[in-house]
Symmetry: D2
Subunit: 332 residues, 4 copies
């Protein structure tokens, strides 16, 4: 079994760090975006979604990030506050940066795509001076999102947050969340992902994301066991490798490997599956559940979110997940 | 009176050059954007609006510009085609540039603002290789928008289009359309606006815009007569200086000055007033109307547009303007 | 004959504007630079060389430019002052820019090359705020060098200086001096060269440089007559087209064309030929000489400079040129 | 005592990685650079100097770096080859980058300064694709220079070289060599220096350099013991902290601390002291000497170099150092 030393006496359960942006979801679905005319605005960004998901599950949640000094930035701040997320670590950019946008196109449940606006985004302006050692020290766990490593000064801010987290025994969860835009090259990406992953306790990513990180290794070959072993040699306790529709597999340092259950659901779109899975899985780790139970709980949360129009706003409560599990058909 | 030599035998009346972008207009109006949830998508950008307005008024209209290679760019292309605008001069960017966005916020009819996304925009990727001498030669008039001067390579493309237009006796209309974003400094702005204005037959701008262009002159002092005189010493035949609610004044090279009428209307928002004014005024110039008549026609068009939700999509036909004029109350 | 209205009552004869840099000339010549070990430092840059040449010929000379805030910049300032050049228009950069460097390699008199350091150079930091209308107004002639158009903010500074020069009837001399580095594209180059050349009284360049400027013209074809005619339609009075070893040809607005004589000399290197030619030719224009005489004087100056190790430091006096002409063999 | 596992059976003793540039040393010394006229060209850059020093001491030495595709780059390649340094890891840049330059000014032995040209330098174009795992695997030790961390893609190349070195048990020596130019901020600098230092066996720097690296620590306070301890908790075996004229102190993981002797010498300039010290110290480590002996040998080498005009070219042989030590007066 895994060992995560979540310090009981700390007031914050989880601090998420990274991207805060806006999703603009097409209201007229099942057609190309050229033919849609209206969009609905939601808070988005992988760590934002996970934080919102965690807060809905009653974890005491905080955020470290940076928003634009405009209507979009203020909308995000308000939404986080409404969802009981502590925003004392959310700074307002003063350089004229913009909030990142994601226009979603839902042609069919299987054919979804995103049009991203990521030039000069506020979230990547997070800097080392925005990282408060005391704030991190007061939390049990820190979730970092790989997108925050994509550019300076946010990249340095992540490494400093990791340094403080390790120094103060904060459990570090790494959601790889690799998006090719913003990065200059695959080599740059792999270099800085690896330097971050070395310092993390729990690493969650898709097989393709781990392959990206292993590009400098001659023996690279999509071998889940080897992938997990590499990180256990550093600080990792749990490595979760996602294989899409075939489900995920979790490895633990003590040699264990585990699969969770998956549910049948009516899919509207695929966005948000990973973030809802992660937040509910993390909830399970906080409860001390064994991995299969936490993973199954994550899958149930994902099944709920992919049947709804938004990602963030659709994040379920514990009761909603339990109701769903009571009624849904488990596939594996 | 003014002399504009619009060559009768040419197949295209007006080619507009410059910005093609997207307006995302808040559907829930009379509140700050933080509190709006849905937006409607329209084609936007000053020269785009003028071209659409001209086409609605049955001028044979073409466009020279560049759109992003994505859903937004394709939406713009489709909309121009639907509005009978020739898009043979509209190229598709291959560098990964984005379509510019303008989120509009309507707090009240008097308090409107725009949140612009202008980083890495496709319209400023227009380059000299996109400028076809033959295409320009086939038109009676060319409308350039100052925003297209804001950065290379679009800046060079504008100067080349101007060079071809002068070479082939195409009448050049200059809509100053100054927007501080994208420009590096006021000095840069004034320098390149002046170099363009020297080559134009009709120049339309606000008093503030002309002040910006005169910043290197010690005697600068918001003197409309002097402002107009300066450009008559180059190629200008008509200079129109807009004074907001106090109306516009047109100067002609032969010493004339003229005012047009203004109408009472129910204002929803102020966006689009200038573009609808310009397109209807240009229509008047094409009809050979005297300036007061053309200006009054322009004002009527503006009054219609500011009472509606969009800019481009609200551009009226000749019949609509005439109906409006028949019923509306003229204020001056 | 040409008409240049050099205002007699003005205290400054010639202001040169543009590049101030450092030549580092290999001391061990007739070998590749890989095998040289020591270099001698001289002031360099085409307009600097022309200004130094003009000052040596007793023209009252000033300079508008920008130098780095370091030992190289101070060396340049000192050298200009020692050569009786007014440096009140030479500003010191405060942005950390560097002085441009040119390492010269003399493999043989026919095989010379230059290794340029032009990243982040101080001369291109000249800005519109450095351009003093009063200073320009006090001069008879302004020499601009095309290299100063290569980037902002220097580009805007050149156009403003041109604007002031035209406004105050200062004769403008344009030394094309095209160097491909620093420019982003041939199209950008031609665009901004053309916008400057429109405002000049005397234009001096090689056939290749004029070809570059004519790249957007379908009928382009290295026709000297047509080239000159184009600029006479703007403000030019004299256009001089250089054909390398075959000598130069000067065209005047009234239809004249003229050639000057060339002298036999012992060539050490080819650098500096154009700049010494220009300064002595300009001297001739100031004396009111006919073009062939001024051109021959220019050729004699060039013959002297290419037989010596430096460009700037070798610029001859009137007496030296006259002595040379008395003894040298004229080839054409 | 320290434990460095230098693998005996490997063909290369030391590979240095990083900056390869040119020193241009004023020939006329004891005056400001404004008054010097000639310069002599040498190979320069801290890791280049250390490699040349190591090769002079008969270590089998290689280099991983990138040079410009011009006369300066070829001069560097030739010089390394002449000094028996393997250049199979030295690539030629194809992006138009320049060789970095350092003009040295020697006003007096105590007042020396450097004017650096570091824009667009070839050495920082080193990329991960230039790092050959097999080459690193064939060496006993790898020396990295902090300057190579200053920008991408060189930064990523350093981390990849470190990864390969650790994987194949190559001893890593880190010469901090912090130069503020090129870096964007102190925070960026500290972040990437720390991530590198975590992976090194021997770390050499000045007290000021270690202070820079500790800027995120509240308890920072120039405490040598604490500084060393921090790195022993990662991989370090030896940490050497230089205190200028007061000498250096070496700490070892087992709790030892050591000082070496210093010699009286006639100082011409201070440049090159650190590099000659490092190369001779490294030689001592290769001989298995105890630290005081290796440090004293380093000091002797430094004393020789600071009495001569160049850095690289003045690097002594074992015999020269031994002769010097036999005759020189040891001060401490």
């Amino acid at each position: 079994m895994y060992k995560l030393d979540l310090k009981k006496d700390r007031p914050i359960d989880l601090i998420a760090l990274g991207r805060l942006c806006i999703d603009l979801n097409a209201n007229e679905i099942n057609r190309p975006m050229e033919e849609t005319r209206t969009f609905t605005k939601y808070v988005g960004g992988s760590p934002a979604n996970i934080a919102i998901g965690a807060a809905r599950l009653d974890l005491k949640t905080g955020f470290i990030g940076k928003v634009s000094d405009d209507q979009m930035g203020r909308f995000i701040q308000h939404y986080l506050i409404e969802n009981d997320i502590d925003v004392s670590g959310v700074e307002v950019d003063q350089t004229g940066a913009m909030t990142g946008l994601a226009f979603t196109e839902i042609k069919s449940p299987e054919d979804c795509s995103i049009l991203m606006y990521r030039d000069n985004v506020a979230d990547l302006k997070l800097s080392t001076t925005d990282i408060d050692e005391e704030y991190i020290k007061r939390s049990k766990a820190l979730l970092i999102s790989g997108t925050a490593l994509a550019a300076s000064p946010s990249r340095e801010a992540v490494y400093l947050a990791l340094e403080y987290a390790r120094k103060h025994d904060v459990v570090v969860l790494f959601d790889i969340d690799y998006r090719p835009y913003t990065w200059n090259s695959p080599e740059e990406t792999a270099t800085f992902y690896n330097l971050a992953a070395e310092k993390c306790d729990v690493i969650i990513g898709t097989r393709e994301e781990f392959d990206m990180m292993e590009q400098f290794e001659r023996e690279a070959g999509a071998d889940d066991q080897k992938t997990a072993k590499k990180w256990f040699d550093h600080h990792a306790e749990i490595v979760i490798i996602k294989h899409g529709a075939e489900g995920s597999i979790a490895y633990t340092k003590d040699g264990g490997s585990y699969k969770g259950g998956i549910f049948k659901t009516k899919v509207l779109k695929t966005f948000g599956a990973g973030d809802s899975y992660a937040s509910a899985l993390i909830y399970g780790l906080f409860q001390g559940w064994d991995l299969p139970r936490a993973m199954t709980f994550g899958s149930a949360s994902a099944s709920i979110v992919i049947s709804k129009h938004s990602c963030s706003d659709a994040m379920p409560t514990v009761e909603e997940i339990e109701s769903f599990m009571a009624e849904a058909q488990q596939v594996t």
